[in-house]
Structure formats: structure tokens, C-alpha cells
Amino acid sequence: MNDFEQFKQTFFEECEELLQRFEDVAVTLKAGPNDPEGLDDLFRSVHSIKAGAGAFKFQRLVVYSHEFENVLDLIRSGKLELADGDPELIVQAGDILNDLVCAARSGQDVQDGHEAEMLERIRAMGSQTGTAAAPVSEDASKPDTNGDFVVRFRPHRAMYETANEPQLLIQALKAVGDISILADLSRLPELSKLDPAEGYLSWTIEVRGAENEEAIAEVFEFVDGDCDLVIEPISAAPREEGQAVEEAPSVATPAETTLATSNTPPAAGANAAPAAAQTNSIRVELGRIDRLVDMVGELVIAQAMALDSLSELVDIRHVKQLQALEDLTMRTRQLQEGVMAVRMQPLKALFSRFPRVVRDLSKKLDKNVRLELEGEATEVDKTIIEELSDPLTHMIRNCMDHGLETVADRVAAGKPEQGVVKLSAEHRNGRILIRVSDDGRGLDPEKVLAKAVANGLVEEGADLSKEEIEALIFMPGFSTAAAVSDVSGRGVGMDVVRRNIQKLGGRVTVESEFGKGSTFTLALPLTLAVLDGMLVDVACERYVVPLSTIVETVCAEPSMIRDLPEGGSVMSIRGEMIRLIDLCSNLRLSREGKTEPLRKLAVIVETEFGRRVGLVVDELLGQQQVVIKSLETNYHSIDGIAGTAILGDGRVRLILDIDGLANMETSTSLASEGSVDTMDPIISGGVAE
């Protein structure tokens, strides 16, 4: 790829971002006055695309974006107010812009006149103000500043408290451009009244020949909020030049003249903030990051193995070596966290496509729906974000199609006409929770149960709790929609969602109140690569129980446990009966030659549907973060096993799949009772002798 091609590539990648940004804002537009910042964004997105298109001579794109930009400029300057239907028009115009960009990228021109109609409509919209569109200008780039800025900088006390030093900042400014400084000492009190921790000084700094405003703002990035900062371009008028430079040779010049300027105008302060918030980023191919993640995973294992074998040799006399090892351990961990963080992305990229989905769908369904987003900044592993797209789309469609009532029904039920679908995300306990909720009709337990019985999922007359009934909607082959619509599927609904979420190591639950609405909650791991686990010992084999599933651990008194006639046992804990899963027999471990522990330890875990079961183990060996290795790479999946992990001693350990185990127990106790029985004499025999 030559340089030119590479620039082009970069341009298209930027276009993608700009178009995304455009759409984010465009779907929030409403008739009447709009948020000026958003309108600025719209204009800037289109403008930047035009500028790039001009450079690469994509003529159609230039012409189109120019006209589009003109209208957006009118809107943002307040000369044109959006009428009904205009917001939709702008969204559609954005789609056409997207088409043109795609066409330019692939080199295949869209058919002639694809954008003609839209151009007409845009022009018509623009002409409502009577302002004629200006001809396309060849030079589309921003007006050049001459690179001279004046910076008014006044540290607060808080900035000094965080050990920031103005002198260092001013030094750093020198790297940005030539500077001349005026210090304002006017606020200095008498020496006797001077508080050494207070900041009294402020400075006016002229920076000449700076690349741009951002370069200056970047210097002050870390003290943002702890100081008053104004960065203003100096007009190109030459009269000030020289004068200020000579007047202010050193930091310590007293200058009463700057007194007035040290009072920061608040409007300008707000100006500097977005510039500082702009972060530098590079694009990296995902495969490279994945290789890095893998390598660091290996490093963690290798490091743990080294530590394990060395700790046998090293004793108290080798304090230094021990410290060095500790240090290495810590750094390895930090490295791992750092690499994992590279893969983390805010959910915004995912969430931002839903306003569009909701908007389109509410038209189709003729329902009035508002989408509320919350926690878009929550960061999750990229793989998880990708895998979440389909399930979330499906769930939102479901909420809108089945959950929310029609406008007439809502009014009849005494609810506001506009239904609300809420999508929120948050971190909790090392997991990420994503909720999709609606204020619609909720699940009707009777209807759900009747449907399940009709579909043969549940036996007639089964006695189920409300939660169990609600969980039925995740069963394969269940669909509550009386009429199959093209919006949400035909019975391949929530069970597919559940499967997808399970594949990611997460679970989905539903809470619903009939007549008031439903909330679907997805609980997902932050990353697929590492897992916090509890290491347990069962008959001298070690297993990893995912920490996220563990509710508590209980050392059970014999009086708390009761054996059931058909095999298996239950434990009563604080009045609640919990089924015990005997890992030893479930995993068909042999206790031959090994003594059974005197007291049973039960690890209480929660399954997918919030059902609690107890895993009977011999010993708890402690918590550990493990790197997950799929068993399927070289073998196939096994019931009850979620994956494998390589521990510090280099041995492979199995990660237990709680739901798999819980389901397995019921099937083994019913189906292959015989093989369990044959093992029992060995166990009891061994103990008796």
C-alpha cells in the first residue's frame, strides 16, 4: 500500500467515526430549537468529510456534503429552525452521505442520481430562509490560525495539593511554542497573612507558533478542573508582537496590567474543556492485541510457575530475592491488567445504534417509544461487545413489540402515551450488568404458564413460583406473541438470547410485574480471558469454581443435612432448603484409598435462574485469578466443565460449570442411578474399615 492509499484508508476510517457521530446526534434531533453543541457536531462531521473528500477528489461526495453542510450551518446558526419531519430528513440525508462514502471507498459508484432527490429536499429545506447556497469552495479546510495564542492560567489551591507545579507546566509550554509570560502578583497578601498552601499567582502566557489550541490544552490536561484556564487565539494583527515579548522576559515580572484578565470569563473556560478531553489514539489491528493478550497470559502462567518452584528454595535469609519476586509478581499482574484494558471499550459504540433501531421500529409498530440510555461509558471487552449486539437488538425489539402496549391500550391503562425502553449498563462485583427494561404490560404469569403447558414445556398442573414461570420464556420453542410479526421472531426468541449470553459466560434473568413492565438483566464477565475463581479440593483433585457464582461457603453440621430417599441430599441453611451436589459422585471421582473429610464443606452457588445449590467439597484452597483455556481447542466440551485453567504449578485444572452440574445431577440421579450405586460400596467400605 503506498502512502496515498494509506491516507485514503485513514480518511475512510475517520469517515466511519464521523458518520457514527453524526448519527448519534442526528437521531436525537427534534423539531424546534436543538442543543447547539450537537448541531455543531453535525456540521463539523459533514464538514470534515467534505474537506477530506475534496482532497481525494471524490466529486460527488464533495457536492453533496457541501449542500448538506450549508443547511446544517443555517440550522446551527439559528437561521433555520427544524420543522416537523426535518429531523427525519436529516437522518436520511446522513444515510445517503453514508452511501456516497461507501461508494467512494469501494470505488463502485452508486447509480447516477442516487442523491439527487435528497439534494433537492435539502435545498428546499435550506431555501426556507431565503439564503441561497454558496457555490462549492475548493478550499474546504478550516481557516488557519496563525498559531499564536494567549493562555490565561490561574491555579487553584487544589492543583498545588495534587503536587502539580506551575513552573513545570510553563516549561512544558515552551515545547509547544515560543512563550512570553506575565505573572499577576496582585492577589499576594502581606507576608504575615500568607497561607503557604494557597495559590495566589496567576499568569498570562503568550504562546507563539503553536501547532493548535489542542497542543496547548494538552499541557494542562492533568490540572484540568484544578485551575482557571483560558486559551484564546491572538488575532493576526501584528501590533502586539514584539511588544509583549520584550516586556515579559521572566516569570517574576510584576504586572498590574494583567489584573483584569485573570478573572476568567466562564464562557471561554467551557471552550477549553472539549479540547482537553480529546484523547490521542492509534488504530491497532485486533489480531495483534489478541496475540499480546495470549502472550501475557502465558507470561502470567510462567511467572506463577517460576514463583511456585522458587518459593520452595528461598527462605527467610533471602529477603531481597523474595522482594524481587514479589515485585515481579506485581508487575506481571499490572502488565496483564494493562493489556486487558487495551481490549476494553466503552459500550457506547454498541448502545449508539439502538436509538436508530427504536426510532425505526416505533414507526413500524405505530407505537410512541422513548429510549433512555444509561452507563454508555461502561467498558467491556471488545469480543463481548460484538457478541452482545444481536441479543440486545433482539431484546429491545421484543420489549417494543411484545412488552409495550399500543398507544390506545396505554391510555386505557392510565399510562402516559409514550412508552419508555431503558437500556443501562454498570459494573458490579467484577461483572457487567446490562438491563433492558420497559414500562409496558409485563409478563402475565397465567398466560405464560398456559402457553408453556400448551407447548408441552411444562406438565399440566405443575406448581411453579412466579420466578420459575418467568424463566419459562427462555425455554426453546416458547413464544408469547399471539400473532407472529416480522419484528420479533417466531419462537426462536429468548432461548437464543439466553444461549448467546451463556456462551459468553453470562446469564440472563427477567423480573416482571404484570401491568407495569419487565426488566431483563444480563450479567456478563468483563472479559473472556481471565476468571476469578475459588480453588477447591475434592477427593484430592482440584477444581476452580467461578467466584462470581459463589454466594457463601458453609461448614455443614451433620444435623443440617438430610439424605433423600432417591439419592442425593439437601441441606437446610437459615430455614432454606438447598439441594446438595456431591461433586465426588457427579464427577465420578474415586475415594479409594482416601479418607473422607469429617465434616462436609458446602460451597453455596447460584445458578443461572437464581436457584441455589450447594457443592460438596473437601477443602477450600483459596482464591485465584486464572487464565481460561478452552477445552475445545484440542478436545470437546464436557458436561459440568466450563473450561480449563493452568495454575501456578503448571497443572491443568478444570473450571466447573455450575448450571451444567445442576442439570446433570437431575439426569444422573434419574437415568444412570446404577453406576452411581456401584461406587457407593467403595466409599462406605473405605470409611468403615
Binding site: 471421582l589 483455556k629 478452552s630 477445552l631 484440542n634 478436545y635 493452568i646 497443572r651 491443568v652
Partner: protein, 174 residues
């Protein structure tokens, strides 16, 4: 030949590979009980001494468990047991031959590695009809001009179904 020597020999054999005539192939032979078996050297990835493995629940008896091989988790198949002669009583002198099979790697537990054989294709005798007996299906031919008859293993038939699909019917106490 112990594991280390076998690896060295295998490495040399692979390095010398250019000198082998087109109709010749090289095989790694190993002992399981009293019998000699061999596999194509190109499918052998590594040979290592036996170390304890982590057993997998509810799997066929011949799947001894999984092993960490430089960060990869490999299943280990007890060859003697797979061939119907009961579980191997393992000692540190036992050897694991790691072979590649359709993008997967699997370890075979054998008693010892015997030799690297350089064999002309036409020296390999076909397997006679044996009424579809299990242990015959997993063989691809015999080599008879050695001191002892060597059976060539068909890795796909020997290990393929164990790796790719769960077969609960065979799972326990088969």
C-alpha cells in the same frame, strides 16, 4: 530408546528428510505392551516423558485426562487402553507421543519409543479383512520386514471420534 533420544533422533530424521526417496516415508515406532506400533513422523509434534495428568469427568476410560503443554491444554489417550488391553500402569519411564490431527493436538501414552523407521511405501502390507473388529479398523497397514511386525496406526480412526464428538454411550466403564 528413551524419550529424549527419540526426540533427538526424530529431529535428525526430519532434518535429513531431503535425502529420503520420494516413495519412502519415515515413521516413529513405539512399544505398547508386547506390540510395536508406528505413526507417520510428519504427524508427530513432540515426545515427552509421562507426567501426571488432570483427569476429566465422565469420559471414556482411555482418555486419561488433560496436560499442559506450554500453555496448550491437550487430551492424553492411553493407547493400550484404547486398543482394548486395559489401563496402563504409568511410571515416569512411560512416554507421551504428541501428534497433530486435523488442527488439534493429542498426546498418546505409550510404553516407550522404539525407533525411527525409513520405509518404502510398497513394503507396507494392507490389513487383511477381519470382520470389522475394532482393533483392526484403527490400523492402516503392517510392516513385516523388521525384526518384529509393526502395525501402522490410522490416527484419524484411532483418535478422531474421541476428540471431536462426545459419545456418552461409550462414556463409562466401556
Amino acid at each position: 530408546m528413551n524419550a529424549e533420544q527419540a526426540v533427538m533422533a526424530a529431529a535428525e530424521a526430519i532434518a535429513d528428510g531431503k535425502d529420503i526417496p520420494a516413495d519412502h516415508r519415515q515413521y516413529v515406532s513405539f512399544a505398547v505392551g508386547a506390540e510395536q506400533y508406528a505413526v507417520d513422523i510428519m504427524s508427530v509434534r513432540e515426545i515427552k516423558g509421562w507426567t501426571d495428568v488432570t483427569s476429566l469427568p465422565n469420559q471414556p476410560e482411555y482418555v486419561r485426562g488433560v496436560l499442559n503443554l506450554r500453555g496448550a491444554v491437550l487430551p492424553i489417550v492411553d493407547l493400550q487402553c484404547r486398543l482394548g488391553a486395559g489401563l496402563t500402569e504409568t511410571t515416569p519411564r512411560h512416554v507421551i507421543v504428541i501428534v497433530a490431527l486435523s488442527n488439534r493436538q493429542v498426546g498418546m501414552l505409550v510404553d516407550a519409543v522404539s525407533d525411527i523407521l525409513d520405509v518404502a511405501d510398497d513394503k507396507i502390507q494392507p490389513v487383511p479383512e477381519t470382520n470389522g473388529r475394532e482393533d483392526a479398523r484403527v490400523l492402516s497397514g503392517f510392516l513385516t520386514d523388521q525384526e518384529q511386525m509393526v502395525a501402522m496406526l490410522d490416527l484419524e480412526r484411532l483418535l478422531g471420534h474421541a476428540l471431536l464428538e462426545e459419545e456418552p454411550a461409550e462414556a463409562v466403564g466401556a
